[in-house]
């Protein structure tokens, strides 16, 4: 599953813009992941601070 390290996340929303299934949402200061997430990992690559990770 896709995990968001809330202690690293700077809530910029870059991940939201690249998500192919529109599964991410930036709510002020945190990222919400919906059930639409396909764990493709695209968002993890562009996270400027490395807060996103797909874990088995």
């Amino acid at each position: 599953m896709l995990t968001v390290n809330r202690y690293k996340c700077c809530y910029c929303g870059a991940c939201v813009g690249v998500c192919p299934t529109c599964a991410l949402e930036l709510v002020e200061t945190f990222i919400e992941v919906s059930a639409d997430c396909k764990e493709c990992g695209i968002c993890t690559k562009i996270c400027p601070v490395g807060a996103l990770e797909v874990k088995a």
Partner: protein, 393 residues
């Protein structure tokens, strides 16, 4: 809870605020939604804008401006540099803004024109009637709120959800986003006079490093790298490396990160009852990453077109076509040209970059505009730039 208005604008950045202001000035009832508690904060921007275009749209208040610069200095990977003067240096230098104050100032102008500004109010979907959007459903301070409006203007930034809810595919490919990190740095090494740009595949693959001065020995030092050449946390890691080599004694007062679209003009920025402006419509300049002024321009057009569509009663995609036509002719052509330059630029090796910038060293480019400079570059490096010949003439 529910309310009704003529236009609901999602996002109170520069694009959204200009759209709300223009629509309110034309007599419409406007709701301007900002999901954050504070307009303008946190910043996701390097804050550089061109003076002339900004002043054509608004009267710049002194407190919006952190610094004025003389021009831009561009460094090749080997350290060679060239200087462009401010008035010719393109749209991205001139003023370095204080976005927190600037964004709030523009939202205030919208409010004073009559727009109803609502903070901590997040759009979570479109209301639909017979399949066509007719407003937004929102969360306001944690409580559901429905806002009925014939027109929704999506100015919701890089996230761009309004567009996707309306069926416009705004999803960015990794090669069409720059992932960015920036520090607000105080250091005696800061150049207070010039916006500086540092090129090189090892310091910023597929992007560049910038240092934009913000007053006495203070600067936004940041970088953007191409998404397709990024890996988790890479932008922040590379910025740390740049700091160690260029500002080893720099003190960091603020950290900023963000994603910057560099996609070029999207196929459609309109749907029935919906217009997209700014980053949400990917109207950022793909080469420079600058998007403040284009968002403001598009926002003004969208606000005006909203008023016409409301009075004519046709808010269908066809009825909003004037917005599509006008943003494409005002800013779309420039974005398309910049996209071609960007696609070429990201392929250049450090040797290519050294050759290009080195070739200008002996030319008097201080008074040239970007176009003139490109013509000189092409004359001096025809083989390297052959692909771009159609853009140079």
């Amino acid at each position: 809870m529910s309310m009704k208005c003529d236009v609901v604008v999602v996002g109170a950045g520069p694009g959204g605020s200009m759209a709300a202001k223009a629509a309110a000035q034309a007599g419409l009832r406007v709701a301007l939604l900002e999901k954050r508690q504070e307009v303008g904060d946190p910043v996701r921007c390097a804050e550089g804008v061109g003076k002339r275009v900004l002043s054509q749209m608004v009267k710049p208040e002194p407190e919006w401006i952190a610094a004025e610069v003389k021009g831009a200095r561009i460094y090749a990977p080997d350290g060679t540099s060239i200087v462009m003067s401010e008035d010719k240096g393109g749209a991205e230098v001139g003023y370095v803004l204080e976005r927190k104050v600037f964004d709030r100032g523009l939202a205030m102008e919208a409010a004073r024109a009559g727009a109803h500004v609502m903070v901590k109010t997040r759009a979570i979907g479109l209301l639909k009637k017979d399949g066509a959007p007719c407003g937004v459903s929102a969360m306001r301070i944690g409580e559901p709120l429905e806002i009925e409006a014939p027109i929704v203007i999506g100015a919701d930034g890089v996230e761009s959800k309004v567009g996707r809810w309306a069926g416009i595919d705004t999803t960015l490919k990794l090669k069409d986003i720059e992932t960015c990190a920036q520090f607000l740095v105080t250091d005696t090494r800061v150049d207070d006079q010039y916006c500086e740009f540092f090129l090189g595949n090892s310091i910023a693959p597929g992007g560049y490093v910038w240092s934009f001065p913000k007053g006495e020995k203070l600067a936004n030092v940041g970088l953007g790298i191409l998404g397709s050449r990024s890996k988790p946390g890479e932008a922040t890691r590379l910025l740390g490396e740049f700091m160690r080599s260029h500002f080893p004694n720099g003190k960091v007062l603020e950290m900023v990160v963000g994603g910057d679209p560099c996609a070029g003009p999207i196929e459609s920025a309109t749907a029935d009852g919906v217009m997209l402006v700014g980053d949400a419509a990917r109207q950022t300049d793909p080469l420079t990453g600058g998007g403040i002024l284009t968002a403001m321009q598009a926002g003004m057009i969208a606000g005006e077109v909203a008023a016409k569509a409301i009075s004519s009663g046709d808010v269908s995609r066809e009825g909003l076509k004037e917005y599509e036509d006008r943003w494409r002719s005002d800013i779309g052509k420039g974005l398309a040209r910049s996209y071609e330059f960007k696609e070429f630029f990201v392929k250049l090796t450090d040797e290519d970059l050294n050759q290009l910038i080195g070739s200008l060293k002996r030319e008097d480019i201080a008074k040239m505009d970007l176009r003139g400079m490109l013509r000189v570059l092409f004359r001096l490096n025809p083989r390297l730039l052959w692909e771009l010949r159609h853009l140079v003439v």
